[in-house]
Amino acid sequence: MVYEELKAIVGEEYVSKEPEELHIYSSDPGTMPATEPDYVVMPKTTEEVQKIVVVANKHKIPIVPMGGALALSGLVRPLKGGIVMDMKRMDSILEVNEKARYAVIEAGVTEGMLKAYLERNYPNLRLSTPDAPPIATVTANALIHGSGRLSQMYGFHSEMVTGMEVVLPTGEICRVGSCSISPYWFSRSPLPDLAGLFIGWFGRTGIVTKLGIKLFPKHRYRDVMIFVTENPSYVSDVIWRVAHTEMAEDITVWAQPRPEWAEGFQHTTIYITADSEEELKFKERIIRNALRDYIKQKEGGFLYLTPGMKATFLQEPMSQLVRFADVRKGGGFEYVGAILPVDLFDKAYRKGLEIVEKLGVDWAFSVRIIGRSHCMMFAYAYPFNRADDEDVEKARKALHETNLAVLEMGGIPWKAEEPAQQLILERMDEGAKILMKRVMDLLDPHGIMNPGNWEVK
């Protein structure tokens, strides 16, 4: 019955209940156990999304909207079955406003598509891309509070959202932001900010079908510097000093045991951009001066980068990250992306080492600074072999212990997997929890939207 109705909406080619296809949609590369949907559907238009929502309400079956399915924390596994709505066919770039620097896109547009489109048609514009494979979608990444190459300067990707079109859980279509009253998708201000009803909710409050996203100037020159320290207690100050110069486009920190020369060191990678060589040199000099004390005291220094090494670090996204993700072979990879104040770097680093030493897991720490050191996304990454149950269990344990440690430190796990969501809710202010529940109950009276996530008990 449901199948027939879905078929009538999207056509036979774009709906499936075949086990082999359902299996593909039952898990992601992370540690969360597979949960199969009953149907997979790929709408092409907002109207089709609306009709599918009406069907789901009629039969009271769950809907899980899905972008690239690359969150790694199992956010688009249908925890209570139902329909996985794969948004990839909604892949039109609807508008680029060059002067106001924003794009309006459909929900299935990927990071790679928009990046390539801008490079071809608007060489002076860029978007902030995450260090995810290019098939990650721009919309889903923004909606889960992703971060990326321009987050040091402009904050989380969710802060770059200028407006959205949403199909509510009850089937109505609404627009939020300036596009609700204007043909221009330039801003969420000065209206009541309804976008917050759909950001960070993991699809619990509606299905975003179109998104306005900020674009930024793309400069002609780009360079990278890597500052190496051997004492994690210096790193938050290094970050503070570099962010204070306002010269760095992006700041990341990485620490890992492989290759062996990297073990025991913290590498603060600083990206700078400019429109002339003079400007680039000037920025480099200001950053070096900011770290002069460390260099003078011989406590830190810049790694000498050959052109080949620079080319590797300047890749967007970096292909080496993908290689690390599969270091154990077997395609398993997950991380706790802890959102933390930057001054907790030392504590977070040492805690992470304690966990990996105790559990004997493969690891890498990778940190992105967000908004001029307002906070950081500290990723504790654990690759594992999905074909090896013991390996999966070890990684799961490491993730769980890390989640607990992060909360203990005062941080918040980002795009938390379902058990970690419960850990967050256990510690959340009661009033906030009640408000969350009211919002979900009000918008989604039948509880059909990605149930099982953000489940306030």
């Binding site: 190496v228 062996e260 060191f265």
Partner: protein, 343 residues
Amino acid sequence: MNLKFDPDRCFSCDSYACLTKCQYLNYDFESAREERIKIAKGEYSKVLEECKTCYSCEEYCPYDNHPFYRIVELQEEYGINLAPKPIAKQLLKMYAPREKDIASITGVGEKALSLCLFPDLKDNVRSKLFEGLPVIMGRQVFCNLVYLHFANMSVIKERAQQTIENVRKYGVEELVCFHDECYGFFNSYAKAYGLEVPFKTVHLYEYLYNWLKEHEDSIRKLNVKVAYQRNCSNRLSPETDRVLDDIFELIGVERVEREYDRENGICCGAVFKMWGEDEFADEIQKKNVDDMAKSGARFAVFNCPMCYVALAERSAKAGLMPILVSDLCRLAVGEMPRLPGRG
């Protein structure tokens, strides 16, 4: 392993060329004498902190008394950190020989070409100039002399014997060293520390000269002027600099006279960048490349791949074409080399 250093030679020296001729330090005869005596006695000298590790004093010393190796030993003894500690430590780990590399050594024949630790050069030696010469490279054959720039003589000593042994395991009787530093290790460093090298080593210039001489008919004279960047480790085998002149003559190249060549050569600046002395590195690089540019040369010629990396872009922007010596020879025999590291 002790350095063959005789303090009496320094005490009786009447030139103090090691310091008075230095490209970076500014000592008159009297102050050079004072500091030299301190160094000879093994006492602290401010030279230990001022030294830019350019290797030049190894060439300037009229008695082959190894003043530079002596300075590096004392720098280490007095705990002088030339580079930021994490950079120096990371570099030590980066090039340490690994068991798996040593275990993978198999016989390659009587003759081989060592590319040291420069895998990017693989494409540059795919040439008739090197035909039939198997290539060996990697940490297991790395000479470790780079640590002379980091006041770390002990690690070079620690790894030296194993490096020689590793090359021997390849079954090599004659090793052609692409990089001056490897040649310097086997011919200067090993001798200075009394290490036996059980195979013959040939400097790249000697090899290229012999090859070109044998194939003189295939040479098309280039008729160009070149500015040459003499690298630090060529100071360990100054006699090879004259072989380069012979190569240039064979291929029709004029090595321009310029201020910073031959005995007055200056550094490429890469080491100073590693030390965190960027402004000094920029100053030296600018002086060097400006000197190249005003000499009227068309090419900036390098043998050391590190010098190439450090100065190629800057020299290209100054209107010179950066090229390796071996690639220049390839041009002369009708080959079209690619840029190092760019496939």
